[in-house]
Subunit: 249 residues, 2 copies
Amino acid sequence: MKVKSNRLVDRAEPAKIPLYQKMKDDLVQRVLSGEWRPGELVPSETALANEYSVSVGTARKAIEQLAQERMVVRQRGRGTTIATNRGGSTKPFRFLKFFSRDHIRTEESIYLEIMPGKATAQEAKSFGIEAGAPVARMVRLRAANKMPMLIERAAIREDLCPKASQLITLHRPVSISSFLDRMFNILIMRIDEKICAALADEEDIKHLGAAAGDPVLAVERLSYDLAGRLIQISQLHVAKEAYYATSTK
Amino acid sequence: MKVKSNRLVDRAEPAKIPLYQKMKDDLVQRVLSGEWRPGELVPSETALANEYSVSVGTARKAIEQLAQERMVVRQRGRGTTIATNRGGSTKPFRFLKFFSRDHIRTEESIYLEIMPGKATAQEAKSFGIEAGAPVARMVRLRAANKMPMLIERAAIREDLCPKASQLITLHRPVSISSFLDRMFNILIMRIDEKICAALADEEDIKHLGAAAGDPVLAVERLSYDLAGRLIQISQLHVAKEAYYATSTK
DNA sequence: GAGTGGTCTAGACCACAAT
DNA sequence: TTGTGGTCTAGACCACTCC
């Protein structure tokens, strides 16, 4: 980032941000503030254009960018709605890009352990909260087509998801992202993953049917919400029969 | 590619395809035909709008979509150019999303083996060519910051890249994608990857410093060009110290 | 200074969903 | 029938690159 006396520019001029950009940023804020709930219709293009005193074309550009980022969904004749992770219609393993030889028809979550806990120093740093702050911890076995595919160890921050451990114990949701959406209006929008190779540990041997010395995929996943806040940290161990699929553009 | 009596559709109805879509498709064809070479300036918005008898806004939309798909690069005040993979300025491991603790400053390719070969039945099927058709085969060790990170076994179809094995023997390029661009005007635009866990084989032990029984990442990569043709099939073995990073949106 | 892409406007007509 | 988003037009001014 080259800065050529930015302060002067900032003070003297309003920094020359395009109208559609400013409008888009403001719309994001309004979504985050909860003014519109997930699944709800937002005002039409023309209404928003009037409200922001811009032309319809400019408003379109702002809204189209939000649609491209999957923050809203546009439907001709109906209107524009806030995106949602709810609804059983979303395909299983929406965010999980692994697959096996067969198509995945069913998804199952078997919870091995759920308990409230306190953030470790490292977790606190990642989450941006204080060490010792409450988190929900869980271990679950995830299966596709009745076959155990991976074991997940997860921590969810309870400052944004109060009583998450109790609620998860109660509902034992198959999909955490859909659960977070329903319970806390938190939309998981981006997931970063780091993948490396490891050897099967005792739990992999016990639950994934791995043998001692078998290789497994070890995945660390960081799940972020609309606002870019880190919500969940997971470690996955994926059975060696399963693949991860990615695409680079 | 599904074809539902395209001729009939074309004759009977104009199929209601938006103008900007038709224009974009045609521009793609012109790029693929080699009318404009990678790095070359294409006509301006207004020139293209005139040529296609559409308004500038419509032409913009077509060109903007090509830019979004990274097929062209737009620069204000300069013009629009066909994308390129050449040039040392692109960061190392452009398509390879793995990383180590340190930043990657240098990239190296040590070729262990390069030889012409014939496509196996499976390769032929993937490439969409005849079994026994010529391919270039190679094994290379790729290193970052002087540390060996992975071993790659690759096959490149020689029907589209004639004499690839000789040329690679001659130039031993660090980046294959940049090499394909320079030599054959083939732009790698998309790479699909399947990742699974495996145990280090003899070559991993010999060249990656792995021990027997160590886990490694086994990655299968399929590289496609602008036209969506499969150009290269690779198997990577990534040392266990390295990570793969992905992001899901 | 000439030409480029980036932003913005103010209209028009259409396909579609809801009622 | 009403209102929505999708397409398309024909202008305008600006920031920028290149000569």
